[in-house]
């Protein structure tokens, strides 16, 4: 749980709080903004920085996937039957790993695993980021409104959160992707685009309950703080107080939980793809690759590369998110 931070409204403006004079130097003690304090702490946290580095690396890989594959791999859907032993349908030499095929090839079709893992990063991160944005958007609005207005508004929204948290989310997402997949004509999009939009919507839509609950709690305690009373007594109205007084104080928890929601969504997308309702083949996704690997227990590299890709991505985001939480909110214990 994050406790409200002891910083009021404006965090970007660093104003000197105390100036020490005549004590042997003109050196002024300056008040630091939340961002500065957090950055100072984060700089010392080697593990979190490593996580951040890996995250940046993965994002770059996802963005420049076509270039990277152009340099080091083969088109992700190109069959390389010459790499496959026709008797066993396994890659020649066990894995097919070589300078040309960095991660080896798939059994049977002989597609380049390196290219497919690299392209998988695109789908995974794209869906995880946008789904997170959607959840955070819905969750923040719902949480702030519930916490600030209270009364029946709070009662209704809180019940709604409970209901969303009570759904067997995975089943619902599974079924919904199937049901909504029939909307091709109505939505005017199809294929991968349709699936990506669907997954972003379904994953984002079912995950807002948790973040809304946290934001609501924070808003409840912020509402009672002196600076809000002060703003109100100066004549500020609801929207002003919400956006200018309360929302800036919620940046820290929003940032922390967004960072921690991304890896959860990477896992969610991988799970849906693993169960066969994600992006459809031949487009490469990590979950679908693992699902295909279930048929080849004797070809371990086929499951290890996509599995490790998921693991490294999720771990990096978790490490960074944990570090960010420690930096922004030192009161919390891991």
């Amino acid at each position: 749980m994050t406790a409200p931070l002891d910083v009021s409204g404006e965090e970007t403006k660093a104003t000197p709080e105390a100036v020490v004079t005549g004590l042997g130097g003109p050196k002024a003690i300056q008040g630091r903004s939340l961002g500065q304090i957090a950055w100072m702490r984060l700089k010392k946290d080697k593990i979190a920085l490593t996580g951040a580095g890996v995250v940046i690396f993965l994002v770059l890989v996802a963005i420049f996937a076509p270039l990277i594959v152009g340099w080091f791999g083969h088109p992700p859907n190109e069959f390389h039957e010459e790499m496959i032993d026709t008797m066993t349908m396994r890659p020649k030499g066990g894995t097919g790993i070589s300078g040309e095929f960095l991660f080896g090839v798939e059994p049977q079709k002989g597609r380049d695993l390196f290219s497919r893992v690299v392209y998988g990063a695109r789908i995974s991160l794209l869906i995880a980021f946008f789904a997170t944005m959607l959840s955070v958007l819905i969750g923040t609005v719902m949480g702030v409104v519930a916490g600030y207005f209270g009364g029946w508004v709070d009662a209704v929204i809180s019940r709604l959160m409970d209901i969303f948290l009570a759904f067997p989310i995975l089943v619902f997402a599974l079924a919904l992707v199937g049901v909504l997949g029939q909307f091709e004509t109505q939505l005017g999009v199809q294929g991968d685009t349709l699936r990506i939009l669907l997954l972003i919507f379904v994953i984002g839509f079912f995950n807002w309950g948790y973040i809304a609950r946290i934001i609501r709690g924070q808003t409840l305690s912020l509402r009672e703080r002196e600076f809000v009373d002060a703003a109100r007594s100066l004549g500020a109205r609801g929207p002003y107080i919400l956006f200018k007084e309360i929302l800036p104080n919620l940046i820290a928890p929003i940032l922390i939980y967004s960072t921690l929601l991304v890896p959860a969504n990477v896992l969610f997308e991988a799970a849906l793809s693993f169960l066969g309702v994600g992006i459809q083949p031949p487009t490469a996704t990590w979950g679908a690759m693992l699902s295909a690997a279930t048929k080849y227990y004797t070809v371990p590299h086929f499951m290890i590369f996509p599995g490790m890709a998921i693991f490294i991505t999720v771990l990096a985001f978790n490490l960074f998110g944990d570090g960010l939480r420690d930096a922004l909110d030192p009161k919390s214990n891991r």
Binding site: A166, V171, V179, I310
Partner: protein
Amino acid sequence: MVTYIIRRLVGALVMLAVVSMVTFSIFFVVPRLAGVTATDFANRYVGRAATQETVVEVTKKLGLDDPVVVQYGRWVKGIFVGAEFDYGAGVEHCPAPCFGYSFVTKKPVWPELLDRLPVTLSLAAGASVIWLLAGVSVGVLSALKRGSVFDRGAMMIALSGVSLPPFFTGLIALSLFSYGLRITAPGGAYVPLTENPVEWAYSLILPWLTLAFLNAAAYARLTRAGMLETMGEDYIRTARAKGLRESKVIAKHGLRAALTPIVTIFGLDVGILLGGAILTENVFSLPGLGKYATGAISTQDLPKIMGFTMLAAFFIVMANLVVDLLYAVVDPRVRLS
């Protein structure tokens, strides 16, 4: 206390009612908006080879043309008092709780769900015991030896544990222990407890460990955080000051307070798990509720999906209720507010 129980019970019922409405609208109303007609639903019952007349007849008999509210009412009524079903092969009575007939197998859904329940129960029971014991003890040790090699190693493993999808760890475990070393049962080799307890445990050990690893990691992190917090409290110092043995301070004063949130989460996790460990069951091909659900989804067998969703939601709501009531027993402040 009685009013509190009644209030929570009513809350749980309302919750289930809302879940049932949302479930019904997602599976019957949303497809309608997508242009799926009543005859399409009827087609699912009678098969594609049926003549136009039979389809129309079945549509009428099953009331698929009725307003949505009427259909919803009929579905709910079926759950409580049972229903008469007639999809062409004569009237069949479907006793309560009736979740309708499968599109594919033409069998009532409820008995099938009951059939699958023991598998999921076995999986959930074994795994939850393992992860609770392992997670809490590692968490406590880590907190007591904060900053030690053990703590750092355990927390690193725990963080990896929550970052690994169960379908990856499960696959690796299967290919390593079942197909490589051949010391555990292969996927899909479930033996009921009543048939042979030893074989039962042997067939489930790998799924248990896979599922437990994931949750033990999360519980270790939670327990450690909770212990660190409570061991810093003043009453712990008081307990030490009055001369209690350290083991007693830890067990009676520290752990007891730190465990409360763990118990809450444990209740909810088990509730979710009873609705089917979808990923684990699929990796190990265990014929439980989760596998049943994914099978139903891949064939778009709506009555099955809806029956499963309601059962899973029921478990989650019940777990919530039990946790809330236990809380009220333990903590008097809860029932007074």
